[in-house]
Amino acid sequence: MARRFAEGFEAIRHEFSDVFTEMFGGGEADLRLTDPDNLLETGIEIIAQPPGKKPQHLNLLSGGERALTAIALLFAVLRIKPVPFCVLDEVDAALDEANLTRLTRFLREFSKKTQFIIITHRKQTMEGADVMYGITMEESGVSKLVSVKLEDYEQKTASVAAGE
């Protein structure tokens, strides 16, 4: 039991270091056990060092850096023990354009083994999808599904923005 935890931990730790560096386009990350002699109760410490920066406390990282670090950890876990499908609700909210591009590339890669259902407001994420559904509330308070193409969605949101 403890040994399986140790093996699982080492595997994820190795992947996390790789995925982090790819997602950030540089930098380093690591996972450490807070209590290596007590595998049944030890916590796991996350060390993240974005490119060009010194390793520092997670709390000092920016909102977008934290989101990307958390996503990198999730993807590291998925590489070790893939799950058939993954539902992500607006995990891209805090990311800038460059990080969003790297994320969509990762999703494309992972989607060969894992099915993704992604709720998003971000255009780049929509461009990376195979299929897109729109949810609207034409009738007050009642959700309705509409099929939507990216060009129509862009046009519609632009006209909403302009027309008010």
């Binding site: 039991m1 935890f5 699982g8 931990f9 595997a11 994820i12 807070t34 109760e41 030890t42 916590g43 796991i44 410490e45 996350i46 997670l58 934290r66 989101a67 958390a70 996503i71 950890l73 999730l74 876990v77 070790i80 023990k81 799950v83 058939p84 499908f85 993954c86 539902v87 992500l88 609700d89 607006e90 995990v91 805090a94 494309r108 989607s111 099915q115 993704f116 259902i117 992604i118 709720i119 407001h121 929509m126 990376g128 999808a129 195979d130 299929v131 897109m132 559904y133 729109g134 949810i135 609207t136 509330m137 009738e139 007050s140 308070g141 009642v142 959700s143 309705k144 599904l145 939507v148």
Partner: protein
Amino acid sequence: MHLKRLEMIGFKSFADRTELGFVPGITAVVGPNGSGKSNVTDGIRWVLGEQSAKSLRGSKMEDVIFNGSESRKPVGYCEVSLTLDNTDQHLKLDYSEVRITRRVYRSGEGQYFINNQPCRLKDITELFMDTGIGKEAYSMIGQGRIDDILSGKSEDRRAIFEEVA
């Protein structure tokens, strides 16, 4: 294994019967604020056996039943079905297609079905145990929840690692 489709009726803001078909790759769900996108996620969690009203943003389990709007009356029950392609036998069931159904009435009475056969909630949760399916922070990340894994105590993170071990 992958999801084939989600069917909802009376679930939260989905008063009318709605069917979403999924593709093996990436499905994006988009729309205005408050249109019902996160409710789709809640629907998936709920049909997989979620028992905490709080995880579904409610205060009691009855909150998942469409409770009316300016234009509509509340309804008396809700039902969600999730159909999965099980050709690779990832789920320990002798079916190539598995359809999970959950229904609840305002009385609180709940009904559960696997391929239209009545079963207990326990049968559904045990079916998905150890697959990682439906687990927050592993196969599902809720809105605003991406930061949780970083902001929690280092001991709280064990859950994902133990899931893999």
